[in-house]
Structures are given as C-alpha cells and as structure tokens.
C-alpha cells in the first residue's frame, strides 16, 4: 500500500474507464444477435450483484485488501495459498489484456511491427504510471475521461448527421429464445462486469469509505448503460450480420462516417479512445497485481516491484498464447469457465461465508467476555 488518497469521483472515473476499456472494442453478448444490447443490460444486473458481493466481503474488513483478509478468513496457510493464486490470476489477466491490446494494434494499424515492440511501449507507459502511483493515475483518469467523453459525443453526433443509424437493424426484438438471451447475459456478467473485482484492491485508498458502495454501483450502472448504448448503435449502423463478421465493430461503425468530403476515416478517434481505454485497463490490472504481491510478500516499497514484475507481465503477454486465434480461443472457452468463474464468483462467495462465520464467532467471544 502506498500512502495515497483518491476521491469518490476519481474512483468512479477509474471504474468506468476500466470497464469500458476493452469491452467497448470486443463485442459482448453476441449470442443474442440483435438483442446483444439487451443482454448487456442483463449482464449489468449480474454485475451489480457481483459488486455487492465483493463490497459485502470487503465491508467486514474495512481498509484491508483481499490478499490481506484472505488469511484472516481461511487461516494463514490456506489463505496465503489462495491469496497467492489470486495474485497470479491478476497477473495473468494483466498479461491477457496487454496481449489483447497489442494484437489489436498489430491487426488494426501495424501489421509489420512485432507484437513484442508494441507491448514494450505499452509496458513503458504502464510501468511509469504505476511508479507514479494511484493518485497520478486517478488524476489522469479525470482528465482523459473528459477527452473520451468529448470523442464519444462527437462521434455520435457525426453518426447521426451522417444518417448511418438505422434502428430497423435492431428489429425484431426478442427474436431468439429466452434461454439464448439468458446465456448471453451470463456470458457478459464475468466479462466485462466481473472484472470489477480488481477494485477491491483499490477501495482502501478512498477518502470516504462510506461512499464506496454508491460509487461502485453507479460505475457499474453507467458503464453498463454506455456499453449497451454503444452496442445498440453498432448494431443499428452495421446490422447483426456485418457486425458479427467485423473484428472491431466500433471501428467499422466509425468508418461509416463520411461527411462534407472531409470528415471521413476518423480511425484516429477510435485509436485515441482504444488506447486510453487500454491504458487504464492494463495499468489498473498491473497496479493491483503488484500491490497484491507487495502486500502478500510484505514488501514495504511496492515501487521496487514495478520493474521486475512489469517485465514479467510483458514476457507473459507474449508467452501465454502462440498466436492470436489461440489467444482468443482461450479467452472465450477456457478463461471464463476455469478462471473467471472460480475467482469472480465462487471464491468471493466462500469468502463471504467465511467472513460471516468468523464475525459471528468474534461477536460471540465479545459477548462472552462482556
């Protein structure tokens, strides 16, 4: 833990940027076809529940991060083993997200640049930011949030004037069976909303701990709405069949803008938005992973860990998959089931049960001593 404080506003901005980071590029909930935007809203509801779960567990140990309260709940040995696994999970996710964004840039703009070089530049920025600390990151978040918002609003206005939005593409609503919709909802719970888990490592920095709940709920809600609206716009501009074949639907949507024979090929809008989003996503993952490792191994100066662990993340991002299809395949088939589900849902539930039992014991002891 560094000595730093962030305001509720800053936490909110970080959470929203974090959740939008990669999910705005990679389409979510497409199994529901043109109802994907509804599936995202459903996923958001699940995300709210998950957030409440994390908040509830954390509220038994205010001011502590999961790697610190896990040993308290499950005992020192088992707790530390799980805390270690948890840190590994965070590092793996950091590397995954880094790989996502690196590959995205290679495909989108730099086909001849080696992935390693692209990722290296990412990590230079991330390591620099993590060394500067959470306060600098939060302030940067406030400024860049405005930038992203201006870009988004401008793009939306241009899309409207361009006449590319065709809401008929969203029809018919509820075409698929309810079970398919539910499945799509379930998929979108763990990614992107379940990733809000990492903020359990950041709550202790909040100036007003009481506001953590409200801020978190609002953040999930707002980012869910933004995601859903973006998906609805993408769908109505491209239509489902085009969207499902597009690698980056948002890019395809923005590329439809052709106004006044000058405002066209606004790829750079997409690029700015994506790089800002990716920056926050990767940086927050790396930051919490390093903080987790520091608290687990009782390293006083967490900044000493930034260089070595940053380097490990960089190499991990190259090593986790042989090529992009393999990476995507792992991300869709393996990670949600074997990593997201246990770490985002099962472990927090077990933690909650443990915390409730522990606290009951404590209360009984307190009553007994009284």
């Amino acid at each position: 833990m560094e000595k730093a404080k962030i305001s509720p506003r800053q936490l909110f901005v970080l959470m929203v940027l974090f959740q939008l980071g990669s999910s705005i590029i990679i389409p979510v909930g497409l199994t529901a076809k043109q109802d994907a935007w509804l599936a995202i809203l459903g996923g958001m509801a699940g995300g709210l529940l998950l957030f409440l779960l994390y908040y509830k567990v954390g509220s038994y140990y205010p001011g502590l991060v999961p790697t610190e309260y896990m040993p308290k709940i499950w005992g020192p040995v088992l707790g530390k083993i799980f805390a270690f696994l948890y840190v590994l999970y965070l590092f793996y996710l950091a590397a995954r997200v880094l790989r996502d964004f690196g590959e995205m840039l290679v495909i989108f703009a730099y086909p001849e640049t080696p992935l390693f070089i692209i990722n290296l530049l990412w990590m230079v920025l991330v390591v620099y930011t993590v060394r500067k600390g959470i306060e600098a990151l939060a302030r940067t978040g406030e400024i860049l949030f405005t930038v992203v918002a201006i870009l988004a609003v401008t793009s939306f206005i241009l899309l409207v004037f361009n006449g590319s939005i065709d809401t008929r593409n969203l029809q018919p609503v509820f075409e698929e069976k309810p079970i398919t919709l539910l499945k799509a909802m379930g998929e979108s719970v763990t990614f992107p909303f379940g990733e809000i888990l990492v903020f359990t490592m950041i709550y202790p920095y909040l100036t007003q701990l009481k506001k953590a709940k409200r801020v978190g709920l609002y953040a999930v809600l707002i980012s869910g709405l933004i995601l859903s609206v973006t998906m609805a716009i993408n769908l109505s501009v491209l239509g489902f069949s085009l969207l499902s074949r597009s690698q980056f639907p948002l890019l395809s949507t923005i590329q439809t803008i052709q106004l006044a024979e000058f405002l066209e090929r606004l790829d750079v809008f997409f690029m700015i938005g994506v790089i800002i989003g990716g920056f926050f996503k990767i940086t927050i993952f790396v930051y919490v992973a390093i903080m987790g490792a520091a608290s687990l191994f009782k390293v006083k100066e967490s900044s000493h860990l930034v260089f070595p662990l940053g380097l490990i993340t960089l190499f991990l991002s190259i090593g986790i998959a042989g090529n992009f299809p393999e990476h995507i395949r792992e991300g869709l088939d393996v990670v949600p089931l074997y990593l997201h589900l246990p770490f985002q849902v099962i472990f927090p539930l077990l933690l909650l049960v443990g915390a409730i039992l522990r606290n009951k014991k404590k209360q009984k002891k307190q009553l007994a001593t009284k």
């Binding site: 305001s7 506003r9 800053q10 840039l105 703009a109 730099y110 640049t113 692209i118 530049l121 990412w122 230079v124 920025l125 620099y128 930011t129 500067k132 600390g133 306060e135 600098a136 990151l137 939060a138 302030r139 940067t140 978040g141 406030e142 400024i143 860049l144 405005t146 024979e261 000058f262 066209e264 090929r265 790829d267 750079v268 690029m271 700015i272 790089i275 800002i276 920056f279």
Partner: protein, 538 residues
C-alpha cells in the same frame, strides 16, 4: 607529485583567508576604524572615505560610502553639509552627548541607526548606506536613506506584452519592485519578509503575500525552502527557481515568473506568494498550476467570452506546437489511409522527389528552424532581419526547389514555429520545444500509437507533479468543478464569487452577491412621462 602542484596546494589556504578575522565591534579610535575599513576592502578606490570636522566642536569624523551606490546630491546637501555646520549647544559637550545631538538634530533623514558591530556596518555600506564615524565614540551611524545611484527606470515589459492593462514592468531594483506592488494593493495586510541569500553576493530576497488570504502552510514551506539554500551567488531569480522547485527532473516549469506588477497583484489576491530577487525584473510566484501558463493578464481585462475563446485557442496552439510535425510524420509514414484521398495524393506527389523519409525531413527542417531562431535571438537587431531573410529564402524557397524538402513539410514547420511563438508563457514554450523532438521520434517509430502513448505519459507526468503541495493539474485533475471558472473558460467577473481554495485556505469570498449588472427597471410608460422623456431626449 611535482613541486608545482605542491606549491599550489600550500598557497590555497592563504588565498581563502586573505584578511584577518573581523573584530566584533568598532573602537573609539577613528583612525583605527578607518584603516580597518581600508584594509577590509583592499583599498578599493570606490570606497570613499571623507574625513571632516564636525562644525563648531572640531571633533574629527569620517563619512564612508560606496561611490555609485549612493545619491551624491542627497549626501552632499544634507549629510556632509549638516555635519559641517553643526553648532553645539553647550561649550563642554561630551562625545556621547554630541552623538545624541547629531542623531536628534543634525541628520535630516530617515533610516538612521546607531551601530557598533562591524558586520552590520559593512553590510549596510554595501547596500548603499552611508557610515558616519566620530572620533572618541564607539558607535557609528548608518544612514540608509542615502541609497541611490544609477538604475534602469520603469519601462514597458519586454516579455509579456499586453493590449490592455498596465504597461509597467518591474526593474532590477528590489525596493522599486516591492513599491510597485504596494501601489496597487493598498492594505496593511500586504506583508513582506526579507532575507539575504548567497554567501558572496548577499542578494536581497523578499517574499510577499496577503496575510489575510494566503495559506500560511505555503508561506512556511517557501521560507523553509529559501532558508535551505546555501550557495555562493544568486544572480537571477532563475537560481532560486531551480533550487526550490518540487520536481527538478521535469521539463515543465513549476514556478511562474512575470515582470508585470499587475500579474503579481492579481496572484497575491488569489493567495499565492511572490518571491522578489534583487537584480532581476522577473518575480517568482508559487504555488502554480499548469493551466496558469495559458493565461495572460489581459484575459481578465477583456470581455469574458473573448477571453474564453482565446484560452481554448491557446490550448489548441499548445498541441500544434507539441505534436504538429509528429502528426505529419505519423500520417505520411504509417496512416496514409486516415488522410482524405485528395490530400494524400497531393502530399505524395510533392514528396516524390524528396530523398529522405519524412522523419529525417522533419528533423532537418526543425533543426534548421531552431538554428535560425537561436541566431536571430543573439544577433544585433540590424543583422537579425538579414538572418530571417536568408533563412526564409534558403529554407523556404531554395530547399523546396532543390527537392530536398517537400512544401507540405515547410508549411507544417512554419505553422509549428508560429504556434510555439503564440504560447503566452516562454517557460512552457521552451519545454514544448524540447518535447517536440521526443514526439517526432515516437511518431517515426510507432505512428499515432506512439504519439498517443506519449501524450498519455505526459499527462501522467503532469498529474504526478506538485507545486508547493498543490497538484499541478488542478483544478482539472483532481477535478474541482467550482474552481473551473478560471481555467479553460474565464467566467465573467460577476460570476467569480470565490477565490480558488487551492491557494487561499481560509478566506475565499471574493465579491458580494448579486454583482451581475442589469439594466435599470424599465420606466413605466405613461403619457406624461413619455412626453417628458421626449423633451429630455430632444
């Protein structure tokens, strides 16, 4: 080791202690005192020692001053003449009595003190005071009011020109500078504290603040940092700036400097602390936020809508001068598909004959421009125009015709250059100049991806800075909605109800409620009153 070096080594201690240690206080023997002064200054001819006899008492005395640091007229007419014409009231007046009489009756000036300590006496002699030694007394007078001599008079600012507003600029004299601010803010709450920094130069450094507005923690911090300075000389406020800033490893200025008294006054009223340094017209201001470097004094004097527009323009200019050439490099090297088709065809056609990649072309042009700028800066004005003509012709025409650089590149460099001159603060313009090359490198290697990563990194860096405890990017990050009335937009004065609470912790109320001007109540239209009104108007 050779004897040459040995000899040198042995000589060194003698050089560091050229004179005897100073005796603590003066003696009653005039000649002893005078010879000590002469010895102390190595018989420098500009130390004038005028020996005289005090009027009727015929007591021996000496007036000592430094030529050029005193006002000769004042010294001759009032000090030396009065001393010579002194008439003692009683015949057998003792020396101490005479001393008191001279103090009470003879010297018609303010700033007179009796001193006994040599260190104090010499110190005041060196700032332009006159010393009066009288034989047989162990006290001497220092007359501080004789300070004078030649100095630059108040003139217009050279670095911060304004269209509207005061045309005064600070001078090299610290007391003149302080008085200029006192003339603007006339309240006893305007406090000044002085100290001397520099073991050799003994430079006067003063801090000024409004006691009822300033955050006293900042004042304490400023004093602490100034007292920490142990250096032989302070020749300009830039020395102080570099010795007290928060983060020395940053290209961005963390202390504001200005040569306009109205800027100092405006900032003191927002709770900042000014640091005056003798010998320079540039006065420092702390704490400072980044957005301040995009503000000019006339923003506050013009109408708010125009001022807001120019502020947005300046941010735009900042980005042009920062990434102008970088964007050109990135677009032509990596992202031709992002340029509209017609434009990309034109650029490609022009670039066909150019033998260099865009980044080399840009580097050549930028370096050429930097050389031109540096040459124009140092040359006498008469030759300066020749440089610009030669530079303009050679680079603008000949290089393009020879096919070494492409016309679009010349346009980009020219726009960037003009943009960098349009940045209001030279301190920021100069750091942007440095960063531009880094961005060009990033653009050449990574295209827009490099530029965006660079910009994010710069934002992170800016957000991590602090100036005397105040976050550098405030009130944008951390965002303080209330205080954004004077950042990118400039709210009208009737809406600026509060001072920024970043700097002034306790006293933030700036104006009373309901300051918005409005037309008077419309007159009720009656037949009589309209007739009357008509008569009046005709």
């Amino acid at each position: 080791m050779s004897p040459f070096f040995k000899g040198k080594k042995q000589a060194a201690p003698n050089q560091s202690q050229p004179v005897d240690p100073m005796p603590g206080s003066i003696t009653s023997n005039l000649q002893d005192n005078l010879s000590l002064v002469k010895q102390k200054f190595g018989n420098s001819p500009d130390i004038i020692i005028r020996e005289l006899k005090i009027g009727s008492s015929k007591a021996k005395a000496a007036v000592i001053y430094v030529q050029g640091l005193v006002d000769n007229q004042l010294l001759n007419d009032f000090l030396i003449e009065s001393l010579m014409q002194y008439q003692s009231s009683s015949q057998n007046e003792t020396k101490p009595e005479m001393l008191d009489n001279i103090y009470d009756l003879v010297i018609p000036m303010g700033g007179v003190k009796k001193q006994t300590e040599w260190s104090k006496l010499l110190e005041s002699l060196l700032v332009g005071a006159t010393l009066i030694f009288i034989d047989g007394t162990d006290k001497a007078f220092t007359v501080a009011s004789t300070q004078g001599g030649e100095g630059r008079s108040i003139s217009e600012p050279t670095t911060q020109n304004v269209i509207r507003g005061s045309k005064e600029a600070f001078t090299e004299n610290i007391s003149t500078n302080i008085s200029m601010v006192r003339r603007i803010i006339r309240t006893p709450d305007l406090w000044v504290e002085s100290m001397k920094i520099g073991t050799q130069t003994n430079t006067n450094v003063s801090i000024m603040y409004l006691n009822n507005i300033v955050d006293h923690d900042v004042v304490q911090e400023v004093k602490k940092r100034l007292k920490k300075i142990k250096i032989d000389s302070i020749l300009e406020s830039g020395y102080i700036e570099q010795l007290i800033e928060d983060q020395p490893a940053s290209p961005f200025p963390q202390i504001y400097h200005t040569e306009k008294p109205d800027v100092i006054a405006g900032n003191l009223l927002e709770g900042r602390v000014a640091i005056f340094v003798n010998g320079t017209p540039f006065v420092l201001l702390v704490p400072v936020v980044f957005i301040q470097f995009f503000q000019t004094p006339d923003d506050y004097y013009f109408r708010f809508d125009i001022a807001t527009f120019t502020r947005f323009l300046r941010i735009f200019i900042f980005f042009i001068s920062l990434i102008g050439p970088a964007v050109y490099i990135a677009a032509t090297t990596f992202h031709q598909e992002m340029i509209p088709t017609q434009l990309v065809l034109i650029i490609a056609a022009q670039r066909e004959t150019v033998p260099f990649p865009a980044v080399i072309e840009a580097l050549i042009m930028e370096l050429a421009f930097e050389v031109l700028r540096e040459a124009g800066l140092r040359l006498p004005k008469a030759i300066g125009s020749t440089v610009s003509i030669v530079g303009g012709l050679v680079i603008g025409q000949a290089a393009v015709q020879a096919g070494i650089v492409s016309p679009p590149m010349v346009i980009v460099v020219a726009i960037t250059a003009i943009a960098s001159f349009a940045t209001p603060s030279f301190a920021v313009a100069i750091s942007v100049r440095l960063l531009r090359f880094i961005f060009m490198g990033l653009a050449a290697a990574f295209g827009f991806y490099g530029i965006i990563i660079g910009l994010i990194m710069m934002t992170v860096h800016l957000c991590s800075l602090r100036s005397f405890g105040v976050p550098y990017m405030a009130p944008l990050g951390p965002f303080r909605p209330v205080e954004n009335g004077d950042t990118l937009i400039r709210a009208p004065w009737w809406a600026t109800k509060k001072r920024p609470s970043l700097f002034s912790s306790n006293n933030v109320k700036r104006e009373a409620e309901n300051q918005m001007p409005a037309p008077p109540q419309p007159r009720t239209i009656k037949s009589e009153s309209t007739e009357k009104g008509n008569q009046n108007e005709s």
